[in-house]
């Protein structure tokens, strides 16, 4: 049993069987396609319909229902569309491409939309213009733009996709192809078949050439042409093999592309989950726009991934993507790109202007001739080190209830002072959309260097308060040092402030501050000069062993400083130098004039890795740069000692005669005994606990933070600053 239909075929009323109708309508559809670009298409079809109606009616006789054979007969009379010839150039290709000709009423008649490369409108290979045509875009420019953007966005990983399509997608060679390129959506062959077909065509062409040659050749040449055909066949076979292999690789590349994009997407979701609390501080946008931007970025990443998946599933499994899906995706993608490009300038603007806030640091408590600079090592990256969760603390960022604590870019510069005072200026720089807002951003950062004792304490992090924005705030500290005065940087400052310390170095290698951590530098006329760096070369005395106890007897000047190895250099006129005797015993080394005078013209430089004791009876002595566990200084006669040293535990001083000692540094305990006219000036030596006994006319000034035990007899005077608990010692205990 079959359905029947009533139709009007070119003016003839026909009652037609369902099968016959199907056949007839697909035939007419093929004619419609054939004359798609012809001017008088409707007229031609009208004429053909009329003639078909006439023929079919004529063949009916007494029957009333048109059956399939009637239609087949009429169609045979009328001929296949590609045999019509005339208007199109298609006839030449249709003979070689027998596969696409109208033969059966199966799906091949509905060639429909196919993806072709449009080589007539190509920049490289016409992939973009082909895709544009496929997606119904009027101008391939947009598709090219998308490809270029994807090329940049994926750092070039998009290029293989282009090449892949170049290989897989055949060029639109014939008019029929060009029509199909813009036609309605339809099935697509899978990748393997596509590639194979492509190579098949070449193979076939080669075979055809062989055949052609065979036909054109005379008998004498027949042998040759048979050879050509054989070669063509082998060539075709090889191509087919290569095609299969290429198809496999293409599929693998496709899977890798999809996986890569997917992995990037998942990775960025995870990064967002971890980084979400931080984003607010760093985003150039307000909260709402920040999340909009993030969503936008996900679209930019996800749409090509989804598109690729759809594309490959279409090629492989012949799944059809509804037009509205591709439409929506394309629209969203274009909107995302537009949004990204329109938001970008605002983001950039937030960083376009620079503003600064300067603050002079109060140095009123500073009294000595050496400024110490040290970094306050807040516990970023240490305190939170073991917290068992994701955080960026190790990288110097910590999020707390107060806000975002960050290690700050720190720059320290040293200049010569214009007057005879030290000056320290702290400058916070920031970015902002205007210079005013940049200044506000700089002002909002919680940061302040402080001066305490003789030390400038430089924090290495600042806090961006909750709700405020990080805008590249950075800190610069300008230190002005008066000529002839000293500055020293604690080792830890180099971790944070780096090479900017080199600002005022001269050519002397020793004066590179960053290479000489912990050294003392003097502001000279040409900038900073290392005052306690070993500078003796090979001319000095070099000992096989080290000495750490020094006995100085004589009116020469001595400088003891820390160095990697033990060296001694004696400067002065030869006749004076000859008066100096060296006596080494055990760890002790003695320099003595044997009671003679050098007339103050000899200077002894001693470089030593360690220093534990000094016994001096005259002369000017400087001790620099030591950081020892314990030390013992005995001074008598008219010895004058200047000491820049830290002694962490046990520091014993015994002063008598007219000896005077001036100390800078710090440590835990200090035990001092003074007699005669000895003077100790140690207010710049910060101790925790001091024990002082002074007799006769001795004078002592000390600085202690915790305890001070004082015994003062005779005319002596002892003063202890620093807020320590001062107790008097009983006389009889002495």
């Amino acid at each position: 049993m079959n359905k029947i239909l009533n139709i009007n075929l070119g003016g003839y009323a026909l009652t037609i069987d369902d099968d016959a109708y199907e056949y007839l309508s697909s035939y007419l559809e093929s004619i419609r396609k054939r004359f798609r670009e012809s001017e008088g298409r409707d007229e031609i079809i009208g004429d053909i319909e009329g003639r078909l109606g006439e023929v079919i009616t004529g063949s009916m006789g007494s029957r009333t229902i048109v059956m399939l054979p009637d239609v087949e007969a009429a169609v045979a009379l009328m001929g296949k569309p590609e045999d019509f010839g005339g208007e199109e150039a298609a006839s030449t290709t249709s003979s070689s491409q027998s596969g696409s000709s109208w033969k059966s009423k199966s799906s091949s008649i509905k060639t429909g939309k196919r993806l072709f490369r449009d080589e007539e409108d190509a920049v490289v290979a016409g992939v973009c213009s082909g895709l544009a045509a496929y997606f119904g875009m009027n101008d391939p420019l947009w598709m090219r733009l998308i490809f270029v953007l994807l090329g940049f966005a994926s750092f070039g990983f998009w290029a293989p996709a282009y090449v892949l399509m170049w290989i897989l997608v055949p060029p639109a060679k014939t008019a029929v192809d060009r029509l199909a390129m813009r036609g309605e959506p339809a099935n697509m062959d899978n990748i393997a078949r596509e590639v194979e077909d492509g190579f098949d065509r070449i193979g076939k062409k080669v075979n055809d050439m062989g055949t052609q040659a065979k036909k054109n050749s005379s008998n004498a040449q027949q042998v040759v042409s048979t050879g050509v055909t054989a070669i063509g066949q082998i060539f075709g076979f090889t191509l087919r093999f290569i095609a299969k292999f290429a198809a496999l690789i293409a599929i693998l590349i496709g899977i890798a592309l999809v996986l890569g994009l997917g992995a990037g997407w998942i990775g960025s979701i995870m990064a967002l989950m971890v980084g979400a609390p931080y984003v607010e501080y760093f985003s150039p946008y307000s909260s709402g726009w920040t999340w909009f931007a993030i969503v936008n970025i996900f679209f930019l990443l996800a749409i090509p991934a989804v598109g690729l998946i759809l594309f490959f599933s279409r090629l492989l499994f012949k799944t059809r993507t509804p037009g509205w899906v591709t439409g929506t995706l394309t629209t969203l993608f274009i909107l995302s790109i537009i949004a990204a490009f329109s938001m970008l300038p605002f983001g950039i603007k937030e960083y376009s202007q620079t503003g600064t806030v300067s603050k002079e640091i109060d140095l009123s408590s500073f009294r000595t001739d050496t400024m110490r600079v040290e970094a306050i090592e807040d516990l970023l990256g240490q305190r939170y080190h073991n917290v068992n969760e994701f955080n960026f603390d190790d990288d110097g960022v910590h999020l707390s209830d107060e806000g975002l604590q960050m290690r700050c870019p720190l720059e320290i510069r040293v200049f010569p002072s214009k007057d005879d005072q030290y000056h320290v200026t702290q400058i916070i720089k920031s970015q902002g959309s205007s210079s005013l807002s940049a200044q506000e951003n700089a002002d909002r950062v919680a940061y302040s260097a402080v001066f305490a004792g003789n030390t400038l304490q430089v924090p290495t992090s600042y806090t961006v308060a909750k709700g405020e924005k990080w805008r590249g705030q950075r800190i610069r500290i300008n230190i002005e040092v008066p000529k002839g005065k000293f500055i020293t940087f604690k080792e830890n400052i180099h971790e944070y402030a780096g090479a900017d310390l080199d600002e005022y170095d001269d050519e002397n290698d020793n004066n590179y501050i960053s290479r000489r951590p912990g050294k003392i530098f003097r502001m000279g006329t040409r900038g900073l000069v290392c005052a306690d760096c070993p500078n003796m070369g090979d001319k000095g005395y070099r000992s096989d062993r080290n000495y750490e106890r020094f006995i100085l007897e004589g009116d020469f000047e001595t400088e003891i400083r820390k160095g990697d190895d033990f060296r001694v250099e004696i400067e002065g006129p030869q006749e004076e130098k000859d008066k100096i005797q060296k006596i080494q015993t055990g760890e002790k080394i003695t320099f003595t004039t044997g009671g003679k005078s050098t007339n103050g013209r000899v200077k002894i430089f001693i470089q030593t890795p360690t220093f534990t004791s000094l016994n001096a009876d005259s002369g000017n002595i400087t001790i620099r740069g030591f950081d020892e566990g314990l030390a013992n200084i005995t001074a008598s006669g008219n010895a004058k000692i200047k000491g820049y040293l830290d002694v962490s535990q046990d520091f014993k001083l015994a002063l008598s005669g007219k000896a005077s000692v001036e100390l800078t540094g710090n440590g835990d305990d200090m035990e001092v005994s003074l007699s005669d006219d000895a003077v100790l000036e140690a207010t710049n030596w910060t101790a925790d606990r001091v024990e002082v006994s002074a007799a006769d006319n001795a004078k002592a000034r000390l600085f202690a933070r915790e305890d001070a035990l004082v015994l003062s007899t005779g005319q002596s005077s002892v003063r202890v600053d620093g807020g320590a608990n001062v107790r008097k010692k009983e006389k009889e205990e002495n």
Binding site: E39, I48, E54, D83, G86
Partner: protein, 125 residues
Amino acid sequence: MDIENAKAQMRKGVLELCILAIIEEDEVYPSDIISRLKSNDLIVVEGTLYPLLTRLKNDGLLDYTWRESNSGPPRKYFKITELGRQFLEALSDSWQQLVHSVGQTINKPQASRKTRKTEQPPAAE
């Protein structure tokens, strides 16, 4: 296959001339043209005719009128225009020339055959 194709190409070239010649004689409707052409072996499938007619009409060489038919819907009757007539003259002149030249070239030994079938293209054989 290839010989068929070559024949079809040859026929296609002269089809316009023949159609114009048929229409010049009398007003005709397509089925008449088809039967005339078919009887002379000039076309294989009818579909070839309609695009040609449409194009000749669009070029102003032909014109048509609708006439009632007693066996079906109204039919298009074609007639030649003045332009078509001039075109036909020029075409048939050049055709005569061509037949002569081609005959001279390929049929020298059998000149008798040529004279016998002057009116028909060689492809008809």
